[in-house]
C-alpha cells in the first residue's frame, strides 16, 4: 500500500459514521438493519456509507435469505497497519541518524575555545 492509497483509506474512514460502522464490523458481520440499530441513524444514510465503503474495497457483502450481511475486508486494514509500521521504522532510523550526527556536532562544538 502506498501513501496515496493509505491516505484515501484514512480519508474515507474519517467520516464518523463510517468509522463507527467499521468499529462495529470489527466485532463480526452485521446485517444492514443491525447496523442501523447500532448507529441510530436512518437506513438511507447507512446504505450510502456502506456503498462508499464497498467502493473503497473496505467492506464486502453477501445475501443470507432476505438479509444483506456486511463484513470487513481484511487486506486493507492489514495494509494500513503495515504502512504505519514501516513509517514508524523510518522515523526510528531517522532519529538514530539524527542522534549519531548531532552528538558528533556537539562534540566538535564543545572542543572549540
Amino acid at each position: 500500500m502506498n501513501t496515496t492509497t493509505m491516505q484515501l483509506t484514512l480519508q474515507i474512514l474519517s467520516e464518523p459514521n463510517r468509522f463507527n460502522i467499521v468499529e462495529l464490523l470489527k466485532k463480526g458481520p452485521r446485517s444492514v438493519s443491525e447496523i442501523v440499530q447500532a448507529l441510530k441513524i436512518g437506513q438511507p444514510q447507512v446504505s450510502r456509507h456502506l456503498r462508499i465503503l464497498g467502493e473503497a474495497g473496505l467492506v464486502q457483502s453477501r445475501t443470507k435469505g432476505q438479509l444483506r450481511i456486511y463484513s470487513l475486508e481484511a487486506q486493507p486494514f492489514q495494509d494500513l497497519d503495515a504502512w504505519f509500521d514501516s513509517f514508524s521504522i523510518l522515523w526510528e532510523q531517522r532519529l538514530d541518524n539524527f542522534e549519531d550526527y548531532m552528538l558528533e556536532i556537539k562534540r566538535r562544538e564543545d572542543k572549540l575555545p
Binding site: 501513501t3 496515496t4 493509505m6 491516505q7 484515501l8 484514512l10 480519508q11 474512514l13 474519517s14 464518523p16 468509522f19 494500513l80 504505519f84 513509517f87 514508524s88 521504522i89 523510518l90 522515523w91 526510528e92 532510523q93 531517522r94 532519529l95 538514530d96 541518524n97 539524527f98 542522534e99 549519531d100 550526527y101 548531532m102 552528538l103 556536532i105 556537539k106 562544538e109
Partner: protein, 169 residues
C-alpha cells in the same frame, strides 16, 4: 535499531507520534532540523543520500529534497515541504508531500507534521506528530471540527499515558 524512540498511534490511526530524547540542547536540535548542511546528513535512511534543493525556514517557505539509495537499488524519492509555523527553537510545523521528479505533488500524500523541541534535564525531547490527511480537508469547516476532535482525542490519550506511566511519558 536502538529502541529509544517511543511511538504512539492514535485511536483512529490518523496520527502517528514519535518521541526521542537526545543529549544536546534544544538550540542545537533546532539547527539540526533547519540548516540544509545538517539535514542532508540525517534525513535519509542509512546508505541513502539526501540532497537539499531549497530550504527556506519561514512561514510558507519551501523545503525541497530528494532521497536516493547509494547502491542504486531503488528509485529516487522526492519531497516538497511547506513550513506553516516557525517558532525558534520550540516548534516547527510543516506539510510534507511526495512529488514526482518535476516537483509535482502527488495528491493525498500530505503529511501535516509538528515537531516540538522540549528542554529536559537530559537534553532535548523531540516530539514529531504526523497527521495523515490532505490539505484541502483542513479547509473544510466540518473537517476543522473533526481535526479538533482528533487533537482532543490525542490530548486525552496523552493524559492517559502520563497517568499510566506515573508522570513519565
Amino acid at each position: 535499531m536502538r529502541n529509544k524512540t517511543k511511538i504512539y498511534k492514535d485511536n483512529v490511526n490518523r496520527e502517528l507520534t514519535v518521541e526521542r530524547t537526545v543529549a544536546i540542547p534544544p538550540r542545537l536540535a533546532w539547527e539540526g532540523w533547519t540548516k540544509p548542511e545538517h539535514i542532508a546528513r540525517w534525513w535519509g535512511p542509512k546508505n541513502w543520500t539526501s540532497t537539499v534543493y531549497e530550504m527556506n525556514v519561514r512561514p510558507n517557505g519551501v523545503w525541497r529534497y530528494s532521497l536516493r539509495p547509494n547502491n542504486g537499488d531503488g528509485e529516487e524519492a522526492y519531497g516538497r515541504a511547506v513550513y506553516q509555523e516557525v517558532m525558534e527553537p520550540i516548534r516547527l510545523v510543516y506539510i510534507d508531500s511526495f512529488t514526482d521528479m518535476n516537483w509535482n505533488v502527488f495528491e493525498n500524500s500530505d503529511m501535516y507534521t509538528t515537531v516540538t523541541f522540549d528542554e529536559v534535564k537530559e537534553g532535548c525531547k523531540l516530539r514529531i506528530r504526523t497527521r495523515f490527511r490532505s490539505v484541502k480537508d483542513l479547509n473544510n469547516a466540518e473537517e476543522m471540527g473533526m481535526v479538533k476532535g482528533f487533537t482532543d482525542a490525542f490530548d486525552r490519550l496523552e493524559e492517559y499515558l502520563i497517568t499510566k506511566q506515573g508522570g513519565i511519558l
